[in-house]
Structure formats: C-alpha cells, structure tokens
Amino acid sequence: MGGVLMSFFKKLFKPFSTVLPYIFKRGQTVSYPTERPIFAERYRGRHKLYLDRCISCNTCARVCPCKSIELVEVEGMEGKYPQIDFNTCSLCGYCVEFCPKNALEFTDFVEFSEYDRSNLVYSPEQLTEIPDLKEVLPMLKRRTEIYLTETEIKFRKVKDV
C-alpha cells in the first residue's frame, strides 16, 4: 500500500524535475538571421565544382535520380562540365559519391533562394564559387554549435562569425 502511494507520488512529481531546469535556460531556438547553426562536417549543402579535376565522364548526370545534371560547354575550356538545376536537385549525394575524381563536393551553404526559377540553374562557373557568408547574411552575429553530451544534444552559442 505504501509502495503504491509512493510510486504514485513519484510519477506525479517526476515531470517537474525534467521541466523546471528548462525554465532557466534560454531555449534551443536559433534566431535566424542573427544566428546561424554550425553544420556538421558531412552536411549536404550546395555543391562546389572543381573544374580542373573534372574529366567529363558523365557519371554524375547518369547517376542523378532527379535528372538535374547536364553537361554543357564552358568558354575557354575543352570538354563539357556539369550544370546542376537546383529546381529539381534533392541534394541526395549520388553525384558527389560516384565522381571518380572528387570534382564535386558538398559545402554548408544553404542560402540560395531566388525570385526567378531560371536563376536556379547553376552553370559550371557559378558552381565553382561560393559567396561569402557576410555578404549573404549581413546581420549575422552568432553561430550556434551543436554538441553531444552523454544524455542529450545541446546547443551552444559561439561568438565567432
């Protein structure tokens, strides 16, 4: 009888021990655009192309499940190079994984929204360069870093930009 009563009260008051520490923390919300998360190393953001490594083997275009890659001519260079259409690209990673020369790689750049759909078709020259974060997000002040403790995922604000 006493055991049942004790376990009832323990069940009643245990949620408080979880919730009360949360009240005194700031919260896990990332106030974009003043803050931006620091993504993981293998995060799949926009592609970056290395033109000197590409051998125009057409593997990326053949393996793309969304048929977003097409090899096109580039002025001043021989051969054809990949043009990625980000309207349909699902950032799955097959082109990066199967490229024999590692000419395509992922970055953590995600701010490439456009007002016009035709601007989302990136030519090979556009794929080679990634804009600086300070130009795209001038109001950025802090970064949020995700780290693991033994029991949970936690967020930490880091002040470097």
Partner: protein, 342 residues
C-alpha cells in the same frame, strides 16, 4: 451659467463622496484589474510555456520581450471579420460572448482584497453568492455550444456540462467545511480568521480537492477536455471569429482569476501577510496580488507538465475520488468542531 456651476459642483461632490467605490469599480478589483491581468497573463503564459518547452515565445514584437505582441494580436482581432453562420441561433450566438467574461467577473468582485476593500460587500452571503454565480457559469458555455449548430460545439457543450458538475460538488462541500470551521459565510471574516494559521493546514484534503477543482472549473490543461484542440477543433468555442473570439479567449483568464482568488481566500490566507509601515490596506492588497501571481504561475506550469485527461478519467476523478474525499473532509470538520477543537 448657474446651471453649469451647479452641474460642476454636483460632479465634484459625486466624485469625492464616491471616490472609493469608483476606484474599486474602475481599478481594483474592477475593470482595469481584470483587463490588465488578462493581458499580462496571456503574455506571461506564452513566454513561460515557451521557456519550459525550450522555445523562446514572442520575441521580435516589442524589443526582445514580445510584450507588444498581444496588443498587436488584440488590435488584429478588431480588424477581422465577424463571421456569423447562417443557421445559428443568432440571439444566443451573439449574446454569449458578452456573458462569458461577465459572469466570472461578477464573482471576482465578491473577493475581499483587504479588510475594507470589497467591491460588492454582501456581508454574510459572500460564499453562497459566489457559488450561486458558479452555478450559472456552466450554463453559458452550454448555450454557446448549442447555439453554434455544429457537431463539435455540441459535443464540447456536453463535455462542459459533465465536467463542471463533477467538479463543483466536491468544491462546494469543501468550501462548506471551511465555513463550518470559521462559523460564518462572510468572506472577509474567513480571510481574517486566517491571521494565525492559514486554512490549508487543518483542511489539507479540502486544499487538494479545491485546487484540482480550480483547474477543472477554469478548463485548464490537463482538464481542458471541452476545448481539446486535437479532437474538437476548439470545442464549444469553434464558431467564433474576430472580436467575439477575443471575448471567448479572454474569458478563460477571467474564470481562472475568479476561482484562484476564491481558493486563496479560503485556504491560503487571503490577504493576510506582514504589514509594511502600518499601511494595512495597501499591504493586504499587495500580499493577495503576490499570492495570486504565484498561483497563476503554478497553474501555467501544470499546463506544461501534464498531458490531457480523457473524459472518463476526469469524471472518475470527480465522482470516485474527489466526492468521497470531500465528504470525509466534511465529516472530520464537523467532528472536530463538535469536540470544540475549532
């Protein structure tokens, strides 16, 4: 010229003679208290709930604290269209949002904020008056749910009826035990009798029952079955939009205020507390407000922590657990009173 002068003198005399009741009506515990409390409570609830859920709450509107957010919401409600569906009972549909906050507000003005600061001083009829108003209180949501001509609202109205009846009977019995202990129904006398010892110590069963009753009667989670958002859209409040929606949402806080103030007066010492600098009235009001703020914080915290109870679980709680405990409390109080302990 003479008429203007007499009119002016009449107005000045009216204001000075009735200064205290006017202050009570307009500021505390009248219009401004209820409205300002509702505004601050909405902001506090949103921020507090967000913090407990590891979010931030309203942030951008009003200088990183978000206090202008609810004024913005309130003004937005005025600009929205008031949709009145064709097949509703228009008379009740439009009448109920006016009655909904008014009925609990009538109960708020019965509570003594200090020994001499009662807006509606009914003397020794204080407690029966409060529970008479509390008896009318379930009827208003029931009419609202029926008048909206909607399956969801009708089910919400029935749930309101079940829930309120199951909670009110134990609460009235516990309040009657307190009245037996004190020997009077007058709320001022009950509050003043707690100067030495607050009543939650001799009446701890009644304390728990009344606290649960406060949460049930104000339809707070975990007892917000009639307005369960995931099941009934918004229960008996579904069909309201625009300013009517504002009234209906406002009423949740007024109901909590009425029941919480009654709970404080009966069990937690009402306005009693240490007096500052000999200003008894002001410090009594201050202590009641502080206790009220802490109680509202606890009720909001309980919303975060506990999930919603099912209808049958809530009725089981009301009828199988609370009512026998309330009767036990009454019997114990009677026995102790007859033996002369109180």
């Amino acid at each position: 010229m003479n008429i203007v002068l007499t009119l002016w003198r009449f107005i000045i005399e009216f204001l000075t003679v009735n200064a205290k009741p006017l202050l009570q009506i307009i500021v505390l515990p009248g219009l401004l208290w209820v409205i300002v409390y509702a505004i601050i409570a909405v902001w506090f609830e949103r921020k507090f709930l967000a913090r407990a859920m590891l979010r931030v709450g309203p942030y951008y509107c009003g200088g990183r604290f978000g206090w202008l957010q609810l004024i913005a919401d309130f003004i937005k409600l005025f600009f929205k269209e008031m949709i009145i569906p064709k097949d509703v009972n228009t008379f009740f549909f439009l009448l109920m949002p006016v009655l909904l906050p008014s009925v609990p507000a009538m109960a708020v003005i019965l509570i003594p904020f200090a020994s001499d600061w009662v807006l509606w001083n009914v003397g020794s009829l204080g407690m029966p008056m409060f529970f008479a108003i509390a008896g009318i209180a379930p009827l208003v949501p029931i009419f609202t749910g029926w008048a909206s001509n909607n399956k969801y609202t009708f089910i919400g109205a029935w749930r309101v009826a079940y829930m309120y009846i199951s909670a009110e009977i134990p609460m009235v019995i516990c309040a009657a035990s307190v009245a037996i202990m004190v020997g009077s129904f007058d709320l001022v006398v009950i509050a003043r009798a707690q100067e030495k010892m607050w009543f939650f110590i001799p009446q701890f069963i009644g304390f728990v029952i009344f606290f649960l009753g406060v949460m049930i009667e104000s339809e707070r989670t975990p007892f917000d079955m009639p307005g369960a958002e995931t099941e009934l859209v918004l229960g008996w409040r579904t069909e309201y939009s625009g300013v009517l929606y504002g009234f209906v949402m406002f009423t949740e806080y007024v109901m909590l205020q009425a029941w919480a103030l009654m709970f404080l007066t009966l069990y937690l010492g009402g306005f009693n507390g240490p007096v500052f600098f000999g200003a008894t009235t002001a410090s009594h009001i201050f202590w009641l407000v502080i206790k009220f703020v802490l109680l509202v914080t606890l009720v909001i915290l309980l919303r975060v922590v506990f999930p919603r109870l099912r209808m049958d679980q809530m009725l089981k709680l009301g009828w199988q657990y609370l009512t026998p405990l309330a009767l036990l409390n009454l019997v114990v109080t009677l026995v102790l009173k007859l033996w002369g302990v109180y």
